[in-house]
Amino acid sequence: MAFADEWARARAIAWKDLTTELRSKAGFNSVAALAVTILLLFGFALGPDSAAVRAAAPGALWLSALFAGVLAFNRSYQVELDGGALEPLLMYPGSRRSIFVGKLMANFAFVLLLMTIVIVVSLVLFQVEVPSAWARILGVVLLGSIGLVTLGTFYAAMASRSRAREVLLPLLLFPMLVPVLLAAMQATKALIGGDLLHEAGAWISLLAAFDVIFLMATFLAFEYVIEG
């Protein structure tokens, strides 16, 4: 099948996932509520020390995105499993990688919307002023989201074949996400603090490298994990 056909199939899957999510609303609302709740809990746990709260902001931001993202990634395959739609999806001719690309695009849009909410709440809750390097921070958010969504979409596909998928996904995903989260948190922290040691660039490069590696590896391996 030609690239144009595969691309049309991927776009159709992304459209279908986003449309069903938009219409059901329950998924995004619960995921966003969880992310905000995690941020609030971090705020309560860190107490009234404003310096400590600000220092913890990058970690809280990325961890709340991670925990809420797990729910979102599970849901993206739950939609297929609920109505028995996974079987027809797997039966369509052509490469099954277009399923991965379509779900990747939908999950990326979903996580970007989630990150927007998380960032706004973090700025208010952790009393962080909008830093001068905000454009670079947005770049870090984009790169970190790509890493999170790539691995999340891939391992959710793997977990979807198991009855214990809700438990299995975090067990598979969290260890693999450590390098992405570490690089994203350190880059965010450095940029919020003014990047006095000029370390942000190295972390951003590392983050971009992980994204490329994970994107390539998961794209190539997807057909095998989605097999019955």
């Binding site: 049309a8 159709a12 279908k16 109505g83 028995g84 739609a85 079987e87 999806l89 039966m91």
Partner: protein, 222 residues
């Protein structure tokens, strides 16, 4: 080794499949020729649905080989999927999409046009409900929507798992028309049924699945 006789729509040799320690199929062999509609009967749990899922590549065999129009189930899975239409008891539609959107999604996935999708919805008898979300559909309407997907695909081999479930008389007629149309194009059908009376007008040969093996049956089972 698989055979590539073009006349054979399905050529399965000693197909076996186990789930954990339980063997569901234990060496099922069968041939389905072009122009044939083979009815497959058997007790619950005898492996009828598993056999269909193996033949449409949704499951991998634990042992044995099979080909569909000469394409090996494992080596040429893409080619098999392009020729096979699987109609499952579970409709596999998206509740939050309308009937038309479901069909158009399937059309894009199958490389068909939106106009063909709309025509398939009409042919399935869902024209009046085309712009309603599938969430409110009855079981029969959901099955009709799944049938519209099959119309779009227009495959050479139909693998139908309890195709008459939840259908009224018109729906049963629609399923049989689909089988007849496939046979007249030189295709074939393998139909798993309990309701043998509905399938009797179109089935040309009956087989039974017992103890994980396929055995011939003379005439429609009662």
């Amino acid at each position: 080794m698989t055979h590539t006789t073009p006349d054979l729509a399905v050529d399965a040799r000693s197909l076996a499949r186990r789930f954990g320690a339980r063997w569901v199929l234990r060496g099922a062999s069968l041939e389905v020729r072009r122009g044939e509609a083979v009815g497959l009967v058997g007790a619950n749990g005898s492996g009828k649905s598993t056999l269909l899922r193996l033949l449409c590549t949704l499951l991998r065999p634990s042992a044995g080989t099979a080909s569909v129009f000469g394409a090996d189930l494992i080596r040429d899975a893409d080619q098999v999927r392009a020729n096979v239409g699987f109609f499952s008891p579970v409709p596999g539609v998206y509740d939050d999409l309308t009937a038309r959107e479901n069909a158009r999604f399937a059309a894009t996935m199958l490389g068909r046009t939106a106009a063909e999708a709309d025509a398939a919805v009409d042919r399935a008898g869902l024209a009046a409900a085309a712009d309603q979300r599938a969430r409110g559909f009855s079981s029969g309407m959901l099955r009709r929507l799944a049938l519209a997907r099959l119309f779009l695909q227009s495959p050479d081999l139909l693998l139908l798992d309890e195709p008459y479930n939840n259908f009224d008389a018109a729906g049963i007629g629609l399923v049989n028309e689909t089988i007849q149309a496939t046979l007249s194009r030189g295709g074939a059908a393998l139909v798993v049924v309990h309701d043998t009376a509905s399938a009797a007008p179109v089935v040309t040969r009956w087989l039974a699945l017992e103890d994980g093996r396929v055995t011939p049956r003379a005439g429609a089972p009662r």
